[in-house]
């Protein structure tokens, strides 16, 4: 099912043009490393007024508000917002289970990642792409500026699904490598037999602004199966013998709903944003409408 993907398949020019109007929203204000286009938590030297405070010895006299001193004869220091860059991290699940559906989940994930990355690059954010399956990486870390978009697209294009997904190990690796806070978008089907909880805890613990986007194919949501079947797990070749019945299908759907509900509750309790989508949802509609309605983009 894995097929070579062209970079143009991930993002076409028209769509890129429409993405340029969007920005990534962080629900938290983080300190950046470099000056950027984002208001920093720190007070700095931007033009945007933030607050006043009393002058204390040693303050930079250039920021005194002389007009207030003229009227009140008291020294106040003008505080301005510092504008810094934002770390936008995209974690992509590229285990073999993502190579399923038409379009495959892996292609869908890479397109979403490309769109988020492009928005981030345009807004001079620091973008990191971290694919994982049974192992973490190799990642593309800290790219900034729209001129690097082709490198990003090429990087995403070259990625191919393989191996057994190990989300907890990948999240742990990511958390260790990226101590600076920022937005983390985790794209996965979350069908990890070892569980998603451990991995998410690593990310939540680092105080990232976490968006968990679960992507499933229509065949997983509404299985089109009949008869006596032997189901083979594409990741670990595990076999499950089933005799399809209405009761079984109903039970599967109930389990899927409970699984997704559990994931959502886990995220909500820990301040992370959970989003669910199907590969049947057109990609541009997801980015331009759904992600905006959920607050990831603006």
């Amino acid at each position: 099912m894995a097929t070579a993907t062209k970079s143009s398949e991930l993002l076409d020019p028209d769509f890129m043009h429409r993405l340029e109007r969007l920005d990534i929203v962080s629900r938290r204000i983080f300190m950046g490393r470099m000056k950027g286009e984002r208001r920093s938590k720190r007070k700095g030297q931007s033009v945007e007024f933030a607050d006043y405070r009393n002058y204390v010895v040693g303050d930079d006299l250039r920021f005194l508000d002389w007009n207030i001193y003229g009227r009140l004869e008291r020294l106040f220091l003008k505080l301005f917002f510092e504008e810094e860059d934002l770390h936008v991290n995209v974690l992509l699940d590229l285990s073999r289970s993502m190579d399923y559906g038409d379009p495959s989940k892996s292609l869908y994930v890479r397109r979403v990642a490309a769109a988020i990355a492009y928005i981030g690059l345009v807004k001079y954010n620091r973008v990191t792409l971290s694919p994982f399956s049974d192992r973490y990486g190799p990642e593309m870390s800290g790219v900034r500026g729209r001129r690097l978009i082709h490198q990003v697209l090429n990087f995403l294009t070259d990625l191919e699904p393989a191996g057994v997904g190990n989300m907890s190990a990948a999240c742990r690796q990511f958390a260790l490598r990226h101590p600076q806070r920022g937005v983390v978008v985790l794209l996965s089907d979350f069908m990890d037999k070892s569980g998603y909880e451990t991995g998410l805890r690593y990310l939540v613990g680092r105080k990232y602004d976490l968006y968990a986007i679960q992507i499933l194919s229509p065949a997983e949501i509404e299985p089109d199966l009949t008869g006596d079947l032997r189901l083979r797990d594409v990741e670990d070749d595990d076999l499950a013998e089933i005799t399809v019945s209405r009761a079984l299908i109903n039970r599967y759907k109930q389990n899927l709903k409970a699984y997704c509900g559990g994931l959502q509750e886990f995220c909500s309790r820990r301040g992370a944003m959970y989003m669910f989508t199907s590969t049947a949802v057109p990609f541009d509609q997801l980015v331009l409408t759904y992600l905006r309605s959920k607050g990831l983009l603006r």
């Binding site: 089109d224 079947l229 083979r232 209405r246 599967y252």
Partner: protein, 669 residues
Amino acid sequence: MNFLAPWYVPLAAAAVAVPPLVLLYFLKLRRREIPVPSTLLWRRAVEDLQVNSPFQRLRNNLLLILQLLILLAAIMAIAEPMLAGSAGEGQVYVLLMDQSASMGAMEGDGETRLDIAKDEARRFVDNLRADDRAMIIGFAERATVLCMLTGDKGALHRAIDNVVQTHGRTMLREAMRLAEAPSSLAGEVSDAQNPIRSARYVLFTDGRISDAEDVRVQRGTLEIIRVGTATENVGIVGLDVRRHYERPELLSVLARVRNFGARPVSRDLALLVDGTLRATQTIELDPLGAADELMNLERSDLETRREAGNEATAAFDLVLESAAEIEVRMSGEDALAVDDRVIAVATPPRPLSILLVTSGNRYLRMALAAMPAERFDVWSPREYEDAPEDALVKDGRCIYDVVVLDGHATDRLPPGSYMFFAASPLTEDVDLGAVTEQDVFLDWDDTHPILRHVPVQEMARTVVGWHEMTLPQYATSLIEATNGPVLGLLHGERHQYLLCAFGIFDESRTMLNAPWVIMDSGFVIFMYNAVRFLGGSSTSGAHPSVRPGQSFTVAARPNVTSVTVTRPDGGREDIPVRGIGLASYSRTDHVGIYRVATGIPGEDARAVNLLDDHESFIAPQRQFRIAAEDVTVTESVDPLNRPLWPYVLGALGLILLLEWIIYNKRIFV
């Protein structure tokens, strides 16, 4: 509802079939392998279902349930369910299978009537309940029990398979006697005491029962399953092969052909001598009747319609100076083939030889000398008694074709033909009493060959007196007077005697007792007829044709204890020769030549031919009358028990269809 099969049959079938199905279903189910992104949720779903209900697999497995239903339906069909037409204990049936010649008629579908009858009989046997018993009798000229009373359907089927076609007539009387034998116990046994209930006799036939008037059904009821619809048949119903009386080398062959169908026909008759075609003739025949009336014709109608153009005689004359097999074949195809060919065994020409034993009778001597005899001797009674054996006997029979004994009673009577005047054979039970005079002739048979064209009235007027004669029962009286027979005919196995109760002279041999001999030419005609009739058996030109099923007798050489018979189908059989030098053979079921290795010229073959109007008349009889009572007739077996297994099989098919639909439906199971 009853089951024809014993209870253990479906049980055994279920025990054999059901467990493997269930085991196969669970153990050896062939599953399609499908790749999925993760089996995580599927495993949980399966486990959830199994936890919720341990019998979930069975409960939800409709396909298995349907397959079990199919299997159960099949097992039920094996048990042969029947909707019982009549309840109660087992019935006794006797199946009477007609094997006569007309059952060999071909029907439209290429089957003979016997084949159809056997199919019907098999169906009948299949319909029997487990506690019913049946017996099978095949009959034609004679009846044979093919299967004794049994409930074993296999044995009954085998017996039906063994019913073979014969060429005999349909004679039911003997078959009915055999059929009633098991239920008719000897002695005074009332019906209530009889352990065998009265039977139902089921007759599979096309009708045309020759002895229907003589059949009596004493216990039980008779039903008839009529088979066959074909009516068109043309058959050779008579054959007469005769040598010319005065020129024995001339052979005359007369074949009587009759059309029994509803269409006029034209047929070619071919005469073959020892297999070589010698002559042909074409005959035109009118139909016997309209198609719709043929099935209503009775036996008597065949006689009344004889002159209506449906019958013709083909005559062939040829010179034949040796023995030969004469065959007449008819062209064209019809439903019955066995009557399209007849055979006769022509004997070599044998000039007549006559011996007159008298103490002096010029009238007899003159009359016999005028006969076309090659040899005519006159012996006195003493010469006759003293003659050496070889002067009188050759090959076990009398050298003379006719011996006329004038007033000489004797027991020296080697096999042959004898004519007695005022005397009797001492070997037979004939009693000659006192002479009565001026008595009256009451009756005579002027159709008999001996009295044909003889003015018996004149004889009666001129014969003065005759002995009171007592004849045995097997004798035929040709002239009957008030005090008994005057002219009698006795047929023995190798003898025939013509007995005249009167003599030419009176007892003192001084007065003429029968002035008739000089007053009327009728005496010469009488003597001519008598000599010709008596000598006919040896000089007629052919042995009389034997009917299928009848026995024939041949003479063997002295001191031979057995002879071999070769049947038309090639089968051989040794038959014993009785003390009087005769051998009889009775298994003449099929037409054709039966060869007997007797070693005597002219005694080495006999021809068996159908030659029966009633068997050749193949139109099935619409209404049966057995012993003057109408009998119910049906066209096919009306099941006593209505079989339900076809419906069970139908249900099986429906369930199978349902299973197929469900199997192919996308999700729902």
